[in-house]
């Protein structure tokens, strides 16, 4: 029995780091090199925080199997927390950036736990509607507390920290953290809740604990994405975080594939770039998305990529195997 060809672990890390550096260089060239008009290069940054939003929502939708409809609420909490901290100018800019992002995530995660404990006792549609309600409550609060949040007029003069590099690092950290979480035993516990909650519980998995954990982690990264959003636009208005914003994120996750990180990343990139590229079709955009959503649910309910996840190392392994298999055949023919 011949052993199958596999790439050893350090080399896999090497391949992944190489890929990340390649993306960084290409992205930097696109954004900084004046290759694209300004609107397009800003779109590259937007793709970044939509990737974070989609990947984090995928944690609770795809992996945990719940349907929260208030992701924009967590994003709003993070955005305002980060923006208010940044505007206060308590720390020098580099430290302020890092602390602000962490603060945004932590505040959003606290809200995630607060809403998660009552919400996660309920299932399916009830969870969907209670998280939707939470998102609306957040928006109403932001609208009615102008002293802190600027109210409906918006919060102005937020320092523009969200450069390509910052967003890119956050994307990698988010994807890396969620990937590692899902490969750990905690991740398997989360998956088992999706597959069969009662069976998971009877195997001794603390379902409520893991649900709240996944929910809080999801909220944390949504908060970070919100802060990046604030740092990109420089202005926040409560209308940015309405129900449609949550639905937009959900659409990315559903179309990409519930439970596929690669799917979320690709769908975030495509759905965020399409409106910029296809300006003439702008008025049909939402109609097309809605139809896509319905058709995908009818014909491929797990989303376009399903639970498939991309791994460059695996692709290389498969290529090498195919080549060597060809050689063995040739030898056999001789």
């Amino acid at each position: 029995m011949k052993q199958r060809f596999t790439i050893p672990m350090p080399a896999r890390y090497g391949i992944n780091i190489g890929l990340l550096v390649l993306f960084l260089i290409v992205g930097n060239l696109i954004v900084g090199g004046n290759l694209l008009p300004r609107a397009h290069s800003n779109n590259v940054i937007q793709v970044g925080f939509f990737i974070i939003l989609a990947v984090s929502l995928n944690l609770s939708t795809g992996y945990l199997g719940q349907l929260p409809l208030g992701h924009a609420g967590f994003m709003a909490v993070g955005a305002y927390a980060g923006a208010i901290f940044w505007r206060s100018g308590l720390l020098p800019s580099e430290a302020s950036l890092v602390v602000g992002l962490l603060l945004a995530g932590v505040v959003a995660a606290i809200f995630g736990v607060l809403i998660g404990i009552p919400a996660l006792r309920l299932k399916g549609d009830y969870l969907a509607i209670i998280t939707l309600g939470f998102g609306e409550i957040i928006r109403v609060l932001i609208n009615n507390l102008p002293a802190i949040t600027g109210g409906a007029q918006g919060l102005l003069g937020i320092p523009r920290y969200s450069t390509f590099l910052v967003v890119y690092i956050c994307v990698i950290l988010t994807c890396g953290a969620i990937h590692m979480l899902m490969k750990s035993r905690h991740g398997r516990a989360i998956l088992s809740i999706r597959e069969n909650e009662i069976a998971a519980e009877s195997c001794g998995i603390k379902t409520t604990y893991y649900k709240v954990l996944a929910f809080a982690a999801s909220a944390f990264f949504a908060g970070v994405a919100g802060a990046l959003f604030a740092g990109n636009l420089g202005i926040l208005v409560p209308g940015d975080f309405d129900f449609m914003a949550s639905i937009n994120i959900l659409m990315i996750v559903v179309l990409g594939g519930m439970g596929s990180m690669a799917g979320s990343v690709i769908a975030a990139a495509i759905l965020t770039s399409l409106p910029v590229v296809m300006q003439p079709l702008a008025q049909y955009r939402m109609i097309i998305y809605a139809l896509l959503l319905i058709l995908v649910m009818i014909f491929k309910p797990s989303g376009l990529l399903g639970t498939y996840d991309f791994s460059l190392s695996r692709v290389i392994e498969r290529l090498v195997r195919r080549i060597t298999a060809g050689r063995i055949k040739e030898k056999g023919a001789k």
Partner: protein, 293 residues
């Protein structure tokens, strides 16, 4: 005096919420689907009534019938095209499809009629003016709204409790599999339930348009969500519960507006929702849910 006037407005709003909540509650009771598109059917009903009255110059009664039938037909088409293929799919898929239908209806309406509001000729549908009952002025619109919704609810109760079709509906909602074994055509009953819910939504659309005479592609969203909260508050799946919930939300809205807190209204509604879920997830009239393994 002011109190009684506010009470009447509250009852008027509550009637509309109750009608809409019934649609949510019935559909949820039978297919366990939170029909997100229900609110948008009301929006479509508003447009049908608008064009029936203005462009087609129909008499008010004909326009009302056309609106109710239009909503019913739309709901049946949606049910057949989008929900029937997913009958055995996970509930998550069904819910996402419903969201998709809701977005689709809103955006098609926006494409056809633009995002700007069309003003609704309320006086063409119901007479303006008011009636004096025992020293209190009651607007005709309020009176007709309350009477029409009570009549609809009585008709619905008779349909569900006294007819064979109603018995079948109750059976399917109780246990779909057993109902099928008893020779009930489950798919027809489900479609019929959607149709009845949408007919009530059609009545709701007419009454809502009279109360708030500005039709926009997004009017269904908040109305739908508040009505859904009403259905949950009353106990989802329960018909009297939906009515009670509707009136509670309607009166609450008047209270919030009277306290000059109208910008907090949506927050208050959802806060109630969260409290209901925490204290009594089955609502006022709901039966406790048993979990089968």
């Amino acid at each position: 005096m002011i109190f009684v006037n506010q009470l009447i407005i509250g009852l008027q709003m509550g009637s509309i919420y109750a009608l809409v909540a019934l649609g949510y509650s019935m559909v949820y009771g039978i297919v366990k689907l939170l029909n997100f598109a229900h609110g948008d059917i009301i929006m479509v009903g508003g447009y049908i009534a608008l064009f029936a009255l203005t462009s087609a110059h129909m008499p008010p009664v004909v326009a009302a019938v056309v609106t109710v039938l239009g909503c019913t037909a739309l709901a049946v088409v949606i049910e057949k095209l989008a929900y029937t293929p997913l009958r055995s799919a996970p509930r998550l898929s069904l819910l996402i499809t419903a969201i998709g239908v809701s977005i689709l209806l809103q955006n098609v309406a926006q494409l056809l009629f633009t995002a700007d509001g069309h003003s609704f000729p309320a006086h063409m549908l119901l007479p303006a003016g008011s009636l004096t009952i025992g020293g209190f002025q009651v607007a005709y619109t309020a009176l007709i709204t309350i009477l029409a919704s009570v009549a609809s609810m009585v008709a619905l109760t008779i349909l569900v409790q006294k007819t064979k079709l109603g018995k079948a509906m109750r059976a399917v909602s109780e246990d779909t599999g057993a109902a099928q074994l008893m020779g009930i055509h489950v798919n027809h009953i489900i479609t019929f339930t959607f149709a009845v819910g949408a007919a009530l939504a059609g009545v709701g659309a007419l009454l809502y348009s009279v109360q708030f005479p500005l039709i926009m592609p997004t009017i269904g969203v908040m109305l739908g969500l508040r009505a859904f909260v009403a259905a949950v508050l009353g106990g989802i799946g329960s018909i009297p519960g939906a009515m009670i919930g509707g009136y509670v939300i309607g009166l609450l809205e008047v209270l919030v507006v009277a306290a000059n807190l109208s910008s907090w209204m949506d927050g208050v509604v959802f806060l109630i929702l969260i409290l209901v879920f925490m204290v009594r997830p089955t609502g006022i009239m709901g039966r406790p849910m048993l979990e089968k393994v």
